[in-house]
Amino acid sequence: MKLIIATIKPFKLEEVREALTNAGVRGMMVTEIKGFGSQSGHTEIYRGAEYAVNFVPKIKLEIVVPATMADQIVETITTTAKTGKIGDGKIFVLDVEQAMRVRTGETNEEAL
């Protein structure tokens, strides 16, 4: 099993969710976050004074899938979340040791 952590632009969330559901993903965790990457934030102007927005709002997706699906899911997120402009986000893939469905006690891929 793999844990896929993806940061995306907030306006892309619905499109990505729909694409992932179509690709067979049956659950995900979504968090509203703020952060910065190589873009290092940007500047805005308030009452004539420029100020830095150091942390940009993003959406963090956390999805656990069978290892065999991981590449395809990463591919799906990449194609749907991409705008080609700076700040499209990043995707990380980690190994998952164990999974458990609380209601039934099913484990690992059964529990996904």
């Binding site: 102007i45 308030y46 009452r47 004539g48 004074a49 100020y51």
Partner: protein
Amino acid sequence: MNLMKSLIPAAAIVALPQMGLAQEAATGEPAQHTQYIFTTLLFLMGGFLVFFMAAGFAMLEGGLVRSKNVAMQMTKNIALFSIAAIMYWLIGFNLMYPGDGWTISGWLGPFFSTTVLDPVGVGADAAALDYASIGSDFFFQLVFVAATASIVSGAVAERIKLWPFLAFVVVLTGIMYPISGSWQWGGGWLSEAGFSDFAGSTIVHSVGGWAALAGALILGPRIGKYKDGKVHPMPGSNLALATLGTFILWLGWFGFNGGSQLAMGTVGDVSDVSRIFANTNMAAASGAVAALIMTQVLYKKPDLTMVLNGALAGLVSITAEPLAPTLFGALWIGAVGGIIVVFAVPMLDKFKIDDVVGAIPVHLFAGIWGTIAVIFYGEASLITQLTGIIAYGVFTFVGALILWTILKSTMGIRVSEEDEINGLDMAELGMEAYPEFSKG
């Protein structure tokens, strides 16, 4: 039944003009008591419109301060209005309108002279038939002084202690504003000299602006506003409230300028009130549009807070002469006010003068501009207008500097660093405006 209900007022409306008809036929003007009634009505309606500007200032300031200071800003706004109302009765009104009771002719009215209303059910023989009832006049003038105090509260927000601020309001509304106001509106030396300020670009708005400037200078900027040679904006908590406040002020201004016609008893007077309404509205609109375009051009994005300030600057600009200009005149006078604000806000930041809501650009700078602009359409010379501007500036700014300095060395005017960072709501009041939101 419904028919009867609508018939009775209709009959009254038909009957009303008959009362003064005999004299009207003879002179072409309504009877004097009819004029008295309509002028009194103008003061009462104008007065409650200007009263509502207190709500406008409160919402504007509440929207432009950070959420940790909103409850305190509301406290200051309701307290300052109430103090102004009491002080104006106790000292202010008669100090500002001395009649024959000057202490120093043309310069200083009587102290310790409280306001006394007309007796209950005053008869036509005892009323000031050539003007209006005392109660309406007193009420109309007192809501103006409250506006002056509101201007100060916005500029010194988010760091001043409550009680020293209120002490300042006591002196400003009871003594300073009435003394300088008497020079012009009380029939003092500036009105003798030919100075012209119809509804108070200088007398109300610049006076508030000068007092605010002195306060902002003595108080210093908010912690973190100017650091490492850069300006660090502190965006306001609620721009919807700030916008509502601006619209309320805009509404109130019809009473502010329209009521300042001070008469509604003749065809000429009531038509003039309508000219003033139309011009006042035009100046606000052009001030807002000017600020909208200027911020788009300068910063590539419109700045809502500047557009709000622009509308108010347009209003302040037309206040010194809302009657004489054409609609086109009101348009360009208001637009210049809006442009002044867009440049003055960053300019104050360059001097590290921290004015939270833009009160100084709007009320002081646009007020000076509006007072000068009288020369284009009204009857006034540049020299007398500048004399008035300087006289009010020196008296109020120096007086306010002294008063703020005394308060600073006695009570202390600024909250501690910790209180300022935690917010005045919890530090000074122990209550928050928005207790159910988490800290963010």
